[in-house]
């Protein structure tokens, strides 16, 4: 190895190390980008399309849009949704399917949106709620329709 090469490498090396040191030192004094969850829980912004959990929107009268057709259950790739329905007779004598329980397993949901795509009445939607960790797996099986709720009357 000749001398030029020896010292050349040495100085080039030192210079490159210097550049690295300079870069980190610059960052040392830059404002930090950390978002402090949970301290910022109140003002935390999550984009509205984020899929955190499946919900069934209810209106003020405790009514939802689900007609228990089961399309979402069929569309689901891994059996996350279970629609329990019963046949009831309406006032005018017709038989009609009615939702009893809309079971949704948050623990196995893959948020593929096939259920919401399949739903003809927009009865289900994804919400932003992400604070879902629990101690017991059975707590992840949710019933989406609220107790005492019923299907909203058809808009005509």
């Amino acid at each position: 190895m000749n001398n030029n090469n020896y010292f050349g490498t040495l100085f080039d090396g030192l210079r490159s190390l210097g550049t690295g040191l300079k870069t980190t030192m610059k960052e040392f004094f830059t404002k930090k980008i950390t978002e402090q969850y949970p301290e910022n829980r109140k003002e935390l912004h999550i984009s509205e399309r984020f899929r955190g959990t499946l919900t069934m929107p209810h209106n003020e009268a405790n009514e939802h849009q689900c007609i228990a057709c089961g399309l979402c259950q069929n569309a689901c790739p891994n059996g996350t949704i279970r629609v329990v329905s019963e046949m009831v007779e309406t006032e005018d004598g017709k038989k009609k399917k009615q939702l009893v329980r809309y079971e949704y397993n948050l623990g196995s949901c893959i948020f593929c949106q096939l259920c919401t795509n399949a739903c003809p009445h927009d009865a289900i939607a994804f919400s932003n709620e992400f604070e879902n960790a629990v101690f017991d797996r059975s707590k992840l099986i949710l019933t989406l329709n609220k107790p005492g709720s019923k299907v909203a009357a058809k808009k005509s």
Binding site: T19, S47, I110, N117
Partner: protein
């Protein structure tokens, strides 16, 4: 992508393949798919394929000609086919995969072991008449490592004979790297024989995250199969899904609108930048430069924010659908992408300052793990790895899809083939991706974002192969349909499998620390290898 398909009887396979390789210069084996076409039935025509077989997709890197070869054997007891791995080195692992899934023995293959499943697995799960759950409960015993393998040979009377081969001698110092090891980027397992700090030989064990996606696909409807593509190579979620959508659309004869094409292109490129930044971050982490790792992640978050705003997911995105995309672009999308471009350009310079130029990094990366162009092609190592070895293999240029034919970008090709070239290819590609986005972001055409689809999607009978350039190479989808609402066979050309195949030859004589650099720059994603 119509291409010539050859049906070759198993007895003539070897001669014909040799001719294809040597005369027609079909030097690149794109994909090798195992098939179970079932037992012969009465109303079969001559064209119908039956039995257990293999589909080969070949391409010539010099003429660009492509061909598809199908072969099969009707023997279900002891099915065997000649191995082609002496013609294409890249066939070695896929043939082991086919043996693993279908039980087809490849005669002349140097290492006929299972690739993904445990040695004590019963049966071959991908055969249509096999029920893998029935005989294979969860085994909690530790898997025994076997140091021998077999080479099979077909005797003159048609029976099989086998000879034993030792993988490691008794006096070798073998260390086990993985499956839970920070260097393997997931759950890959290497068994490395060492001489001091130098690696003598590496034996790769895959399958620790083999989830049977391809088998599951056979019982899912087409929209449902889409959900699983995101989880293959989660850093190319957009592109993988894009490939499958394109394949299904092609089979249905659906043409998506210009708007969808442009949106998909932009999303693919955002995803590519995301993946390449993660590549940079993880490589730095592996090489001990923790700070650079955090810089990479800092910038990646900006892209994830944009993706999340439009698609609703950060990593698993679920955006492309058959005939369109899930949702229209968010009103902020264009603005934020435009802010992102200068921001990234500035920060990429910082990457160069802190890592690229650093003498330690350069000395560790330059000259280590050299992959020659011939080897890259023979193994089918596409993507950044192939381009670093001087092989212009970008699918976006070879077979333009979506909006890639109308944008101007440079295919980054280096010739050194070492770790540093692989690293530079990725960093330079970020710039090219930014250029593509720049050209498209201002002219997103109007149009519908979703073609009208029937509620239940059925494909006509036939088979299709579509490829896209994912973040780490050619990602191909081979789809065979029999007219049902779920595919008969859906095979993904893994981008990572060829990359794992080259690890052994790249690391011979290298140091343990080089294994980290080589693994890092090859940039494989394990769930994509194991599928």
């Amino acid at each position: 992508m119509n291409q010539e398909t050859l049906h070759i009887a198993s007895a003539e396979l070897l001669a014909k393949m040799k001719q294809l390789k040597e005369v027609e210069k079909m030097d690149y084996l794109r994909s090798l798919t195992g098939m179970d076409w079932g037992t012969p039935e009465e109303n079969d025509t001559q064209e119908t394929m039956r039995g257990l077989g293999v589909v080969y997709h070949l391409e010539s890197t010099s003429t660009g000609k492509r061909i598809c070869v199908k072969t099969s054997t009707l023997d279900r007891e002891h099915p065997h086919l000649p191995s082609v791995c002496h013609l294409w080195k890249g066939a070695e692992l896929p043939e082991r995969e086919v043996y693993d899934f279908f039980g087809i023995i490849f005669t002349g293959h140097p290492d006929m072991r299972r690739l993904f499943l445990r040695e004590d697995w019963v049966g071959f799960p991908f055969r249509k008449d096999n029920n893998p759950e029935a005989e294979n409960p969860l085994r909690m015993t530790n898997e025994e490592t076997i140091d021998t393998t077999y080479i099979y040979k077909e005797e003159a009377n048609g029976t099989l004979s086998r000879t034993e081969r030792k993988l490691f001698e008794d006096d070798e110092y073998v260390i086990n790297i993985g499956p839970q090891h920070p260097a393997t980027h997931g759950v890959l397992r290497f068994r490395a024989s060492l001489v001091g700090e130098e690696i003598n030989k590496i034996d790769v064990h895959c399958g620790y995250i083999h989830r049977g996606i391809e088998k599951m696909n056979e019982s899912l409807t087409y929209p449902q199969t889409l959900a699983l593509t995101d989880r293959l190579d989660y850093l190319s979620a957009m592109q993988s899904r894009h490939a499958l959508c394109m394949c299904i659309e092609q089979a249905m004869g659906v043409e998506v609108s210009d708007r969808v094409k442009v949106i998909r292109t932009i999303m693919d490129e955002l995803q590519r930048i995301d993946s390449h930044i993660l590549f940079f971050a993880c490589l730095c982490q592996d090489m001990g430069a923790t700070t650079a790792f955090l810089y990479g992640f800092r910038d990646r978050e900006k892209i994830l924010d944009i993706l999340e705003e439009t698609c609703g997911g950060r990593l698993i995105i679920n955006y492309n659908t058959i005939g369109g995309v899930q949702a229209d672009l968010h009103p902020n999308f264009v603005k934020r992408v435009k802010e992102l471009i200068p921001y990234l350009r500035k920060n990429i310079q910082e990457y160069h300052d802190i890592f690229t130029g650093n003498i330690i990094a350069q000395q560790r990366l330059k000259g280590t793990g050299v992959l020659s162009r011939e080897d890259a092609i023979a193994f089918g190592a596409t993507g950044g790895t192939g381009r670093a070895s001087g092989w212009a293999c970008d699918v976006r240029k070879r077979l333009p899809y979506a909006a890639y034919d109308r944008v101007d970008f440079k295919e980054i090709v280096y010739t050194e083939g070492d770790c540093f070239a692989r690293y530079m290819v990725r960093l330079d590609e970020i710039e090219q991706s930014l250029r593509i986005i720049e050209q498209l972001i201002d002219n997103i055409p109007e149009g519908s974002i979703q073609e009208k689809m029937k509620p239940i999607i059925r494909l006509p009978e036939g088979s299709w192969y579509t490829a896209v350039e994912s973040s780490r190479g050619e990602f191909g989808v081979y789809l065979e349909s029999r007219g049902d609402k779920s595919p008969y066979r859906l095979h993904y050309r893994s981008t990572g499998l060829p990359l794992v195949a080259v690890v052994d030859s790249l690391t011979r004589g290298a140091k343990i620390a080089d294994l980290i650099a080589i693994g890092g720059t090859l940039d494989y994603i394990v769930p994509d290898i194991d599928r």
